[in-house]
């Protein structure tokens, strides 16, 4: 973006706390989410799922179910064409179609408990449910494997007979559950460890955790008789879903229109499609609209949690706290299909530090679990849990303040990370100084209380975004963009457009386009929406302003260059241009139909310049020494947010991420029985934090405007989930004098640790 002068002026709208435009509908129950659409003649779809973790599907007999009155269509694997495998390495946008078609409907084998095997559309939910019981599936049950470390063993049951580990030399001849081994290195860690005065090596374990959005997946598919299809879907990216559906069903993209409903939370988990292709095929077969809504049980069993992981961390440091070498081995579970986010972990886990010698190896491992989906800074929190825990231990061993240890090693402008990326300005040192100045850092602690600190690094994304802006006859403005609004992004889009135009925020209405009304817009994910789509919105608005200036120039008989746009008015660019009364947006809009047509602007961009997004968390906890219960008492989140367009919603991202992290640290986990079945597939026993579990979450927004964005925006959504696991674990360690390296830090584990000897500390 060339025109960055605005970074210094005082904003009228941007940065102010405005009520979101979609808010009233959401507090009155009017907003329509995935499950809220009802169409005439609509059928209800339900999915039959495998009770087995690993089984060959020998035969599926739907004849009885089809005869049940009210059943209008049934689909199985036979209703979906098989897909080719794509070539490695797989970028984020090309989920392998061979995998994806098997995620939505099992083909040769059921690969996890809850794997779809058939789907029914019927005139009522109860009939559809009844029909599922009449489908006979002949399974040949196979041995299964749940734990990724077990899945790596030579005698483990193999999920995919044609999967040979990538990234090892020589190329293996036996199939493996390890899809790939990924490496990154810088310098020489052997030399680095040789220079170290203290070396700490620890193994950490985390469990699979679910995004836990409150709205289950839901869609309505309506196939028309002309071969086109409309899909209403709760999704983080309807353009991506449309393209994927076209590929899965062998349809042309132009025949498919996706409309994004309001979305009840996603956190990465609503990027993939699950029921949509099934609903579309059912609708095609039944010639009626079909609604598919998952139950909570299905959400837990069959949609992506994020990877559980085993992580080995080894860090060496000199007496003065300078790190001399850092290594990591990452064993990540991908679920039944490849795709564990080891690349992101490798790229981020040590990246806020200026390290000379680093070596990281990551393993992407399949096992009989649902395929993982992205979850907020996917892949990074588990690795950060290990790194930040070990740094805490090193600080203790060396008797150095834990923030000072980070300061000693903080990345700065010019630092090169393990992937070779050289940083521009990066405000990590400034953030650490802010932490030290904060009253929370020095506040006294009571008995059985402890304080923990951790930092986190994430790269927010850019990518494809489109926006279109229409100035209406009366001077109001309709802005059209393509990102489903999960957390108030429409408010930020309105704010940026209003700021550019110099008109009140209330005069701008933002709509989310369907996939046929706007160019391809990438996901609401990767902390990219306000950054990338915001950029498109600003560019589209500036294009409309250009038209406004041209119209004013025509009215005044001057050139467009002689007109400037200021606070909602076209004005002569200088006194030399002439003495013309400023023309407002509404005056220009009113004249527009007679001056060549309506005023509009649009932009289709690939937002680049994605950059680091760093955060630091400080937490106090109290541990009940007799029960191991951990109560978070105080929590402060520090984050470089670039510039907060909607400060309320930036704070909300920081608070929400921190609390998800608390849940991850203390209670959340997938628990399987010996048959490979999930035993806690509900909110009763998959324990996300409730209101009484957590304190207020204080936020410190550090606003160092991002030079790559016209308003200085930095993506903020994901970073806040990176530090809390380690911060909480460090606080627990500080409170009880024992270190726990396995998440969740459940009371039984803590009570057990309390019966063991406390760790020795150099500082004491």
């Amino acid at each position: 973006m060339p025109d960055d002068v605005k970074l210094t002026r005082e904003f009228q709208v941007v940065g102010h706390r405005k009520v979101r435009p979609d808010g009233v509908d959401k507090v009155t129950g009017r907003a329509k989410y995935g499950a809220d659409l009802i169409l005439p003649g609509m059928l209800y779809g339900k999915v039959l799922r495998s009770p087995h973790a690993h089984a060959i599907i020998k035969k599926i007999d739907v004849s009885k179910a089809l005869k049940l009155p009210g059943v209008k269509a049934i689909v199985t694997r036979d209703d979906f064409p098989d897909q080719p495998k794509s070539k490695p390495p797989y970028g984020p946008r090309i989920a392998d179609l061979w995998d994806t078609t098997r995620v939505i409907m099992a083909r040769e084998k059921a690969l996890f408990e809850g794997h779809p095997v058939a789907a029914v559309a019927a005139t009522s939910e109860s009939i559809a449910k009844q029909a599922l019981k009449l489908i006979k599936v002949d399974y040949q049950v196979l041995p299964h494997v749940i734990d990724p470390i077990e899945a790596m063993k030579p005698d483990a049951p193999i999920l995919h007979e044609d999967q040979f580990t990538l990234g090892v030399e020589p190329a293996p001849t036996k199939p493996s559950n390890v899809f790939r081994v990924m490496k990154a290195a810088k310098g020489d860690t052997a030399i680095g460890f040789g220079e170290a005065d203290v070396v700490v090596e620890r193994e950490f374990k985390t469990q699979a955790v679910h995004q836990g959005y409150i709205e289950p997946h839901a869609c309505v598919a309506n196939a028309s008789e002309d071969g086109s299809v409309d899909v209403w879907m709760s999704t983080q990216g309807h353009f991506v879903a449309r393209n994927q559906l076209a590929a899965l069903l062998g349809m042309s993209v132009g025949k498919i229109r996706f409309i994004s409903s309001e979305i009840g939370g996603g956190f990465g988990g609503k990027i993939p499609m699950y029921g949509e292709p099934l609903a579309v095929r059912l609708s095609q077969k039944a010639h009626r609209p079909v609604k598919m809504v998952m139950s909570r049980d299905e959400v837990f069993r069959a949609t992506g949690p994020t990877a559980g992981a085993t992580i080995r961390i080894k860090i060496g440091a000199r007496k003065d706290g300078r790190i001399t070498a850092a290594e990591a081995e990452l064993f990540y579970q991908a679920g039944a299909f490849k795709g564990a986010e080891i690349a992101a972990a490798i790229g981020c886990m040590y990246s806020q530090y200026d390290l000379e010698n680093v070596s990281i190896v990551g393993y992407d491992i399949v096992s009989n679990r649902p395929r993982i989906a992205a979850y907020r800074a996917p892949g990074v929190p588990m690795a950060a849990f290990g790194v930040e825990s070990v740094l805490n231990e090193i600080a203790d061993k060396l008797g150095i303040d834990t923030v000072d240890l980070r300061l000693k090693n903080a990345a700065k402008q010019g630092t090169v990370n393990v992937q070779g990326l050289r940083y521009g300005p990066i405000g990590f040192i400034e953030m650490l100084e802010r932490v030290k100045e904060h009253p929370h850092y020095k506040a006294p602690l009571g008995k059985n209380q402890g304080r923990g600190f951790a930092t986190g690094f994430w790269m927010h994304a850019g990518g494809l975004s489109c926006a279109s802006i229409n100035v209406q006859d009366d001077g109001t403005v309709t802005l059209i963009e393509g990102n489903p609004d999960i957390g108030g992004s429409r408010a930020s889009m309105c704010a940026m457009a209003a700021e550019e135009l110099g008109i009140p925020y209330e005069k701008v209405t933002t709509l989310i386009a369907d996939t046929s009304s706007l160019g391809f817009t990438f996901l609401t994910a990767g902390s990219r929406t306000t950054y990338a789509t915001g950029m498109a919105v600003v560019e589209a608005t500036r294009n409309a302003i250009k038209v406004c200036c041209e119209r004013a120039a025509a009215i005044w008989g001057v050139t467009a260059e002689q007109v400037k746009w200021e606070q909602g008015f076209a004005k002569p660019a200088s006194a030399n241009v002439g003495d013309f009364a400023p023309l407002s947006l509404s005056e220009l809009a009113k004249k527009a139909p007679m001056m060549g047509g309506p005023i509009a602007g649009h932009a289709e961009i690939n937002a680049t310049g994605q950059g680091p997004a760093i955060g630091a968390h400080l937490v106090d906890v109290e541990v009940d020494p007799e029960t191991g219960f951990v109560k978070p008492l105080r929590f402060t989140v520090f984050q470089d947010v670039g510039r907060a367009i909607s400060p309320d919603y930036v704070e909300g991202q920081m608070q929400g991420g921190a609390v998800q992290g608390i849940g991850w640290a203390l209670n959340e986990e997938y628990i399987y029985n010996d048959k490979g079945q999930l035993v806690n597939a509900g909110f009763l026993d998959y324990r996300i934090p409730v209101a009484s579990d957590v304190p207020m979450i204080d936020t410190v927004m550090i606003e160092e405007p991002n030079p790559n964005h016209p308003y200085g925006v930095r993506g903020v959504g994901e970073t806040p989930i990176v530090p809390p696991q380690a911060a909480v674990a460090n606080a627990v360690e500080n409170a009880i004098g024992r270190r726990l390296n396995e998440l969740p830090l459940s009371p039984p584990k803590i009570l057990k640790a309390l019966s063991e000897r406390p760790v020795a500390r150099a500082a004491e």
């Binding site: 959401k26 809220d36 704070e651 909300g652 209101a691």
Partner: protein
Amino acid sequence: MARHHITTTVNGDIREVLVETTQSLLDVLRNELLLTGTKEGCGTGDCGACSVMLDGRLVCSCLVLGVEADGKEIDTIEGMAQGEELHPLQRNFLEHAALQCGICTPGFLIAARALLEKNPSPTETEVRFWLAGNLCRCTGYDKIVRAVMATAKELRETTHA
């Protein structure tokens, strides 16, 4: 499947509807009466998204059979605003940015109103424990609790004025 004819008062309107025995009140509200403001997050009483008032008492509508609503009065989110005027809780939820995705919001509002009717001066702890049955995954609860506290204060001041 046998159906039962029930007559129930929803947000002051008398409604007659045929319900299946196994249909929950939530299903009846959403699918039969087309009142989709009440949400399903779990269907097992663990998330509170389906909170409604049943004869003046806060319940999860997923844990009530539709047939049990016969002769009862039900209040849902659709009846919370009075015409153009939002309930102070609704207004404060907006002003305090107490929602992100908004799927849990109707349940929180119904539950919070029930709290303030019972206890006009709740402490932060009381608010948190009363609302513990309403799950929110986006906000970390901070702004929700603040919005409820602010509403309580506002209502106390209006009553005393």
